[in-house]
């Protein structure tokens, strides 16, 4: 017998696709840039606010410029070459250099996976559930949902949950921040020369300009068949998306600074949730936890998938992935390994918020490596033809990457020096 449900599937699928189309109005640029506002992002921005009040806002302005430049290049590479970033790197660089890039991507993304599971743990801790219970269950659930194919529905739910973070701009308006200080700290160039500030700056870079975002940006542009003809619109969308995403990030910093600024580095998710109190009062914790859970769970599946896909692309095994997902052992193994390792590290004893921020520092150190690849690719006529970086744009891009790299080097140097007891 035919179950009554089956004839509906095609229609359902179509309706679902309309929903996707609705979300697609947002475009790859908006989604990619806003992927930065995940668990690691929230923790980093919140700690920036609690530790340094509004002082990091100027850094965020610089980071925003860099983000716009980088995302635009990634989108352009996707649109003009019609290929994902990893495939481009494999084709354009020697195998050893390409392998180095891929290893960097894998490490950075693994850091993200750890952050996402830490985020899930932190969200459940707000509800009083131990992370030793929540994280393993979440990992198992996400793994099963992806492998057995019902993830698409879960994805929608998580996406809707993560909308909770749009409460931050309202929190800014209701939280009575010191507008004068906000304005001066945003426009007045400044940098605090101490180790904590430098490290936090790198974490801000790492969480805002994640290699994963560039990967996603290029892939999504290719996926939607956006070519040179559609590029002007895509470009506007990408720039708009990056600006919007960072506006939200800055709202998180401002709202947190207004609520708990000056209390030093963030210690718990509970503390961070207080920034939302002006909006929902005592419901702040719940709202924060819901948003954190949604954002973390969404990325906890998407990032390992994207890494595994990138690796498959690099070794030329795309086909095994798209045809027989469940049979593709290499792919499934990679995905599973990342979820297991990510969840396991998030279970190590220690402060979850600290762990979150450390993963963002790791990302901040790796980001410049990937950026170098992107700048080189975007400067190659053999890849982009007439759409290569103009001389002026290239200069800006090089300055951005150099600045990001200098910051990262500073942090690495400081860390190494502190190991050997010099600093």
């Amino acid at each position: 017998m035919i179950s009554a449900l089956r004839p509906m599937r095609r229609l359902l699928r179509r309706r679902r696709r309309r929903l996707v189309a609705l979300l697609a109005v947002l475009g790859p640029g908006v989604i990619a840039a806003n992927a930065g506002n995940d668990a690691g992002g929230i923790a980093t921005y919140a700690t920036a606010g609690s530790q340094f009040f509004y002082r990091t806002l100027f850094v965020m302005v610089l980071v925003t410029i860099a983000l716009v430049v980088v995302q635009e290049m990634a989108a352009r590479l996707g649109a003009y070459s019609g290929e994902g970033l990893v495939a481009l790197i494999r084709e354009q660089f020697s195998l050893r250099i390409a392998t180095f890039a891929v290893v960097c991507l894998v490490v950075a993304n693994l850091g993200l996976v750890v952050a996402e599971f830490a985020g899930i743990g932190a969200a459940f801790e707000i509800f009083g559930v131990s992370r030793y219970v929540a994280v393993p269950f979440a990992a198992l659930g996400i793994w099963a949902a992806v492998v057995f194919g019902s993830y698409r529905y879960a994805e929608r739910v998580f996406l809707i949950l993560s909308i909770a973070f749009l409460a931050y701009p309202i929190a800014v308006l209701l939280g009575h921040p010191h507008w004068g200080t906000v304005a001066s700290n945003t426009v007045w160039p400044h940098f605090i020369a101490n180790r904590d500030f430098t490290i936090l700056a790198v974490a801000l870079v790492g969480t805002t300009i994640t290699p994963y975002m560039q990967l996603y940006q290029a892939a999504a542009v290719v996926d939607r068949g956006i070519g040179p003809d559609d590029y002007p619109r895509e470009r506007a969308e990408t720039i708009g998306g990056a600006l919007f995403a960072n506006l939200i990030s800055m709202c998180i910093i401002i709202a947190t600074a207004a609520a708990i600024g000056g209390t030093g580095a963030l210690q718990s998710a509970d503390q961070a949730a207080r920034a939302l109190q002006p909006v929902v009062g005592s419901g702040a914790k719940v709202l924060f936890a819901v948003g954190l859970l949604g954002a973390s769970a969404l990325a906890a599946a998407v990032v390992p998938l994207s890494t595994a896909y990138g690796l498959a692309e690099a070794v030329g095994a795309e086909r095994s992935v798209s045809r027989h997902f469940r049979e593709a052992r290499l792919f499934l193994g990679l995905f599973t390994a990342q979820v297991v390792v990510g969840a396991a590290i998030a279970l190590l004893p220690g402060n979850l918020i600290n762990l979150l921020i450390r993963t963002q520092i790791l990302n901040g150190v790796i980001t410049p490596v990937i950026l170098v690849f992107i700048v080189v690719l975007a400067h190659r006529p053999s890849v982009l033809g007439d759409a290569v970086n103009s001389r002026r744009f290239h200069a800006v891009a090089v300055v951005c990457v150099t600045a990001v790299a200098a910051l990262a080097t500073l942090v690495v140097a400081q860390t190494v020096l502190s190991w050997i007891g010099v600093a």
């Binding site: 070459s81 019609g82 494999r90 195998l95 929608r156 290719v222 939607r224 086909r319």
Partner: protein
């Protein structure tokens, strides 16, 4: 001939030894391109004049492209050394036969392929295995006095070998090697020649396989492959593609080409594809399509999806009840020859055009030549569905009647189209168990 040189996983020991031996022979006659790049190029006396930076081949559609020269990095220039000046190509070095060297910087001439830059690490199609591969290594062999590109390595082991110490790099590891004769490269002069060749294996692929290849290739490769196919076989392949991939493909094609392909698709599939597009894009395609095709599709688009009207194809063979069997048979033969389709029955109508019943191709075949076709449906209850019938009704009707297709009629019982059982199956199991991995958020 077995095209895949593969290492045996089990079997008799003797057999394994023989294969090993065969493999070693193969292995020794092959030169790895990846291993050769960066190696010294020497004069007879042993003086190094530079390092190999690429190998140049010229390809005019023959089975194995022949090597026409080397690119040697001398100081800061890339100098071209014609193959006639090359004495010996070894695994670890190249000896030149002539000391004359043209030191001008190399500029690519049309028809020339740089093996390391254009082919190695790029996407290729393996037509025998019907898969998209990426070349981990390329192998050269000396054949009939010249060097030719004979095989593509797609093994993971070869990638590891290239990552390892330099001395590993030159040793071929033909673990998964595909004969170049089965390979379709892209973005190369001469490649298109192979694609357009009469008996090319791509032309013999099943539409579903072609669809898989189209889905997996990068954009430029995909368009090149598509451009080389006949419109009809391209349209067949498009019908088999996943809806999302098809939408992307139609979006990235120039609208005239997209319209041509959609016009060549079966009407029901074309309507499905059009429904998935944005309104603007759909209108644009319909506008550049031949008016008759556009009209037909617009008519179908008006029926809601999920009903008989939304699923049917308008390709229909209709005969009047007094037509003679022989005449209908002839007509069917001609029509089928001109435009092969999945039509499996003839719809018989009365003088007012109202539907009387279906005559299957088999019934038609065994019927007497001089019988009016109407006699074949006499006394039977006509099986048809109204244009607004739901999918569930269609399923019930197919189960009850045990037919391969159903005729769709309008309110006046005039036949409008036909629904094939396989389309109903497609509608019931849309994802066919295939699982496209989405690597990101919606």
């Amino acid at each position: 001939m077995a095209r895949h040189v593969s290492f045996p996983a089990g079997g008799l020991r003797r057999e394994r030894r023989e294969r090993l031996l065969a493999q070693r022979v193969v292995q020794e006659s092959l030169v790895s391109v990846a291993g050769l790049i960066g190696r010294p190029v020497r004069l007879r006396g042993g003086a190094e004049i530079g390092r190999l930076c690429d190998l140049v081949a010229r390809w005019e559609g023959e089975t194995y492209p022949s090597l026409t020269g080397l690119l040697v990095r001398v100081a800061r220039r890339r100098a071209f050394v014609p193959i006639s000046h090359v004495g010996e190509i070894g695994r670890t070095e190249i000896l030149l036969g002539s000391a004359r060297l043209d030191l001008r910087d190399y500029e690519r001439r049309s028809g020339e392929v740089l093996l390391a830059a254009d082919v190695l690490d790029h996407q290729l199609v393996d037509c025998d295995g019907v898969q998209v591969v990426r070349a981990s290594d390329l192998y050269l062999a000396s054949m009939g006095g010249g060097w030719r590109l004979v095989g593509v390595d797609v093994g993971f082991q070869s990638l590891l070998r290239r990552l390892g110490p330099t001395r590993w790099r030159t040793r071929p590891t033909p673990e998964r090697v595909i004969d170049w004769a089965a390979i379709q490269p892209f973005g190369i002069d001469g490649a298109a020649l192979r694609l357009r060749g009469e008996n090319h294996s791509l032309a013999r692929l099943r539409p579903a396989d072609l669809a898989d290849l189209l889905e997996e290739l990068g954009r430029n490769e995909r368009q090149e492959l598509l451009g080389s196919l006949q419109a009809a076989s391209a349209a067949d392949a498009l019908e088999e593609m996943e809806p999302d991939a098809l939408r992307t493909l139609l979006h990235e094609l120039p609208s005239s080409q997209a319209a041509e392909l959609v016009g060549a698709m079966e009407p029901d599939e074309a309507v499905d594809a059009l429904r998935d597009l944005d309104d603007d894009e759909r209108e644009e395609l319909l506008a550049v399509m031949p008016a008759s095709a556009a009209l037909r599709l617009q008519l179908l688009l008006r029926y809601p999806e999920g009903t008989a009207g939304g699923l049917m194809t308008t390709r229909l063979v209709v005969a009047r009840h007094d037509d003679l069997v022989a005449a209908v048979r002839d007509r069917l033969a001609t029509e089928y020859r001109d435009a092969p389709s999945d039509v499996d029955a003839v719809a018989v109508v009365d003088e007012n055009g109202q539907f009387l019943g279906d005559v299957t191709a088999l019934d038609l075949m065994v019927a007497g030549d001089d019988e009016p076709i109407g006699t074949l449906v006499e006394g039977t209850e006509p099986v048809y569905v109204p244009v607004a019938a739901t999918l569930e009704t269609l399923v019930d009707e197919l189960i009850d009647s045990r037919r391969g297709s159903l005729v769709v009629v309008d309110d006046d019982r005039l036949p409008l189209g036909r629904i094939l059982a396989d389309d109903v199956i497609d509608a019931l199991v849309p994802d066919r168990g295939r699982h496209r991995v989405r690597m990101h958020m919606p």
